[in-house]
């Protein structure tokens, strides 16, 4: 067991490095959970109102695809925590992936593992410490959430089922991240690979849930760690017997990660580097060309993902009329104004969530400015005859063009999938419009990165906090009945909900002007500040 020597020291070091951030994350998840449960209780006091709310989800395939099914329409707990089972599963998966990469591959890439590896530290200690940090976070979140839900007045068994399902889902992605950390050389690509697995896991269960019936999902949902978490069915059966599946998966995935770890050298991935070009292509001659060279791989990955996701949702939505055959659903459609209005409403719902995902890409792409500076690359570029504006505008352009391409590919994928089934391109214009209309809000998020970067590269991290806050407003603002001055702070709240609502140019114009103003202010500030020491 000499390979584990020093694990506890490293784990303590990692926990110390994260002593601020980690408690914040550990607190946020249970707080949202408890707040969401309490608000739902107030909103649906009796069983009848809960039945109606549940059928509004269960009878709509897009909603089932996004959130999963409510397995017991009378259950208060199942209704309260619906959004947190699927979306929360994704969020906790993201956290677990990033925690493992931050303490495993990122440390190795920066050369700190080498420094520690020369002392009395075993070969597996680094990976184990990273997994321990993730486990501490996941178990804390699970236990605190369960405790909070019990305190809020929900049944104990269901609360524990929920907490444990969350913790195990998170750990499953920690284990997936541990494998990804062995396969790639850089932290950035390890995260990207694990995020891809997370996205596929979400889509697989989305398809499985949407194509299942009221008794069980299709077998597809059983191929996804997020699906396993949902099939524990908290407050709707409390099937603890599902948990061992996730636990067995975690054990197998971790074992695979350790085997891979012992088969590679320090700093290496599993795929060896091939010799590259001895000279640069003639196009690589400007800051914008460099930014493109550094970022195009990630953008192509995102574009491919967007086409797949929107094609899947496009075809689900088009199946809507065929699948909505329950009497309640028919009634609801009549009440809301017919199938076409319903289609538009679901499309608006899907696209308003995807706007946050596109904004996340925009933040990643624009924040490359910050990582380039802290990695010491910006120093080399600015020491040549490149102006600060040229440098800043290079990654900004990638972020703006990239988010635009993503919005277009989403609209196109959605429209084409819909056309493939209906045989006409009639809806193409509507889907493109609904997708592109969110761009001003997305660009405003990119602009916040530029503004913060203008002050200091590390500050640009705050754009993530803003995005999370706006996402909470969008998902929970109505539920919590937050005052409008709170919900109106989110730029996403002002996007016209095309095609369900009419176009409004006023807010679009305001968002564009704001984005331009923030970018201008960030640029002015950046031109006056010292470069950060690497």
């Amino acid at each position: 067991m000499s390979r584990f020597v020093g694990t506890l020291h490293l784990a303590r070091l990692a926990l110390r490095r994260d002593r601020i951030v980690l408690p914040v994350w550990i607190a946020i998840f249970p707080l949202i959970t408890v707040a969401s449960a309490s608000a739902t209780m107030a909103l649906y006091p009796d069983e009848a109102s809960r039945m109606i709310a549940a059928s509004a989800i269960n009878d709509v395939p897009v909603a089932v695809a996004l959130y999963g099914r409510i397995w017991d329409p009378t259950s208060l707990g199942a209704l309260s925590l619906l959004k947190l089972a699927a979306m929360g599963g994704v969020m906790i998966g993201l956290l677990a992936i990033m925690l493992v990469t931050r303490h495993a591959r990122a440390e190795e890439e920066k050369g700190r593992t080498e420094l520690l590896g020369a002392s009395v530290v075993g070969g597996w200690a680094g990976l184990t410490a990273a997994v321990i940090v993730a486990a501490v976070a996941m178990i804390s979140i699970g236990v605190l959430s369960a405790g909070g839900l019990i305190a809020a007045g929900l049944p104990a068994a269901g609360s524990w089922a929920f907490g444990l399902a969350w913790a195990t889902t998170g750990m499953a992605f920690a284990a997936i991240s541990a494998i990804a950390n062995q396969l790639t050389r850089t932290a950035r690509s390890a995260n990207a690979l694990a995020f891809l697995v997370l996205a596929v896991a979400f889509l697989v269960r989305a398809l499985g849930d949407a194509t299942g019936d009221s008794e069980a999902p299709s077998p597809l949902s059983w191929l996804s760690p997020i699906g396993w978490g949902q099939q524990v069915r908290p407050y709707a059966g409390d099937r603890f017997a599902v948990l061992p599946i996730t636990v067995a998966f975690i054990a197998l995935a971790l074992a695979a990660a350790y085997v891979l770890d012992s088969r590679r050298d320090l700093g290496a991935g599993l795929l060896p580097d091939r010799a590259g070009r001895a000279t640069a292509p003639s196009s690589l001659a400007s800051p914008i060309a460099l930014a493109w060279r550094l970022q195009y791989g990630m953008l192509i990955g995102w574009l491919a993902g967007y086409l797949v996701v929107s094609a899947i949702f496009g075809s689900i939505i088009n199946d809507l009329s065929g699948m909505l055959d329950t009497p309640q659903a028919q009634q609801m459609i009549e009440a809301l104004g017919g199938t076409s209005v319903m289609l538009d409403a679901f499309m608006a719902m899907e696209f308003s969530i995807m706007a946050f995902v596109t904004a996340a890409y925009g933040i990643v792409a624009a924040r490359r400015l910050a990582t380039e500076e802290t990695d010491g690359h910006t120093e080399s570029v600015l020491a040549t005859s490149v102006s600060r504006w040229q440098l800043l505008s290079s990654h900004l352009a990638v972020a703006l063009v990239g988010t635009t391409l993503l919005a277009l590919s989403q609209g196109a994928g959605f429209g084409l999938a819909s056309a493939a089934q209906s045989g006409t391109l009639d809806r193409m214009g509507a889907t493109m419009g609904a997708s592109v209309v969110a761009l001003p809000a997305i660009w405003l998020m990119v602009a916040t990165v530029v503004l913060l970067y203008g002050f200091a590269p590390r500050l640009s991290y705050l754009s993530w906090a803003l995005l999370v806050a706006f996402l909470l407003i969008a998902e929970f603002g109505a539920l919590f009945e937050w005052p409008s001055w709170v919900t109106d702070t989110s730029p996403f709240a002002h996007i016209p909900k095309l095609p369900a609502a009419p176009m409004a140019w006023g807010p679009i114009l305001v968002l564009l002007v704001l984005a331009a103003a923030l970018i201008a202010a960030g640029t002015v500030r950046f031109r006056k500040r010292d470069l950060a020491a690497p």
């Binding site: 050389r185 850089t186 580097d273 010799a275 590259g276 070009r277 001895a278 000279t279 640069a280 690589l284 001659a285 400007s286 800051p287 460099l290 060279r293 550094l294 990695d375 010491g376 690359h377 120093e379 080399s380 570029v381 600015l382 020491a383 040549t384 005859s385 490149v386 102006s387 006056k528 500040r529 010292d530 470069l531 690497p534």
Partner: protein, 300 residues
């Protein structure tokens, strides 16, 4: 020809730390200027100010007649910089980085590039993440030296190079200089600075404490003298400027100020000299003297 770099009274603070505290420095056109100081003395801060990466709190700096903060783009077309800690894009090859940096500066000489790659024995097809520290340094040096520029700013450029490459680098700088081209060479490797530099400046706590040629610096310092006499040693105590006299029979060692050498030799000659050894102070002694005095003063 105007001076390549003129700095007067430059001050740069980071919070409570005064990294540069009224620094004055002149690099003449066509000279290699050694910039000496230990870690943390302010060398890198000074170079980053000269590149317009930092903005000075007060004082002025002129590089090739331009303001490094305001005119940085025009200025950088005429100079090249090799940072002390070279960080390259991990997924670009060394060859690509050389071309990129050269083109961003405004062009590079392909023949010179090929020649330098051969002389530094660099494999330009490797991805930058696979390079050792020394190889990353070679990439930055080749990128800098392939461009047709008037001024080189080098921040401890040989820190990661092996002795063979280090001596090759010295040869290169020797060839490169001339034609009015200047170099500011920051270093703490004294032998390198001594071998390459026309003039030297020693920086301590953000100020230049001494500047000049090595000879000028030596001139102000004591020379160590060891003498073997034929007869009775003369009394040296009366001559001003002679210090630390140790007499052992007919053998004398002492430290002599430059202007006390004449009276010393006259007085020794009368006693009859069998052997005489004089040692001017080495750069290392000069350097250590400044820092030992500094530490003593600051701890007092």
């Amino acid at each position: 020809m105007p001076d390549a770099i003129v700095i007067t009274g430059l001050v740069k603070t980071f919070g409570a730390t005064r990294a540069l505290d009224g620094l004055d420095l002149t690099v003449r056109s066509g000279e290699v200027h050694g910039f000496l100081g230990p870690n943390g003395a302010g060398k890198t801060t000074c170079l980053r100010l000269l590149l317009g990466l930092y903005r000075a709190d007060s004082g002025s700096a002129t590089v090739l007649g331009l303001d490094p903060w305001r005119d940085s783009v025009a200025l950088h077309r005429r100079l090249a910089y090799v940072p002390g800690d070279v960080s390259l894009w991990p997924n670009l090859t060394g060859g690509e980085v050389i071309d990129l940096l050269g083109r961003l500066r405004g062009g590079l000489n392909p023949q010179r590039r090929a020649e330098l790659i051969a002389r530094f024995d660099l494999d330009p097809r490797k991805k930058a993440r696979a390079y050792s520290k020394g190889n990353r340094q070679k990439v930055a040096l080749i990128a800098a030296l392939s461009s047709d520029v008037e001024l080189l700013l080098l921040d401890e450029p040989t820190a990661g190079l092996d002795p063979l490459m280090e001596s090759m680098f010295r040869g290169l700088i020797g060839e490169w200089r001339g034609d009015g081209r200047s170099v500011l060479l920051s270093s703490h490797i004294l032998s390198e600075a001594e071998a390459l530099s026309d003039r030297l400046s020693i920086i301590r706590s953000g100020r230049i404490v001494e500047t000049g040629t090595l000879d000028e610096m030596r001139h102000l310092r004591r020379t160590a003298v060891t003498v073997q006499l034929r007869g009775e040693p003369p009394n040296l105590a009366g001559i001003p400027g002679i210090h630390d006299v140790v007499v052992e029979g007919e053998h004398i060692t002492c430290q002599v100020d430059a202007d006390a050498l004449d009276p010393l030799l006259a007085s020794l000659a009368s006693a009859g000299v069998t052997s005489l050894l004089t040692q001017p102070p080495t750069l290392e002694q000069l350097f250590l003297q400044h820092y030992e005095v500094g530490t003593a003063a600051s701890s007092a």
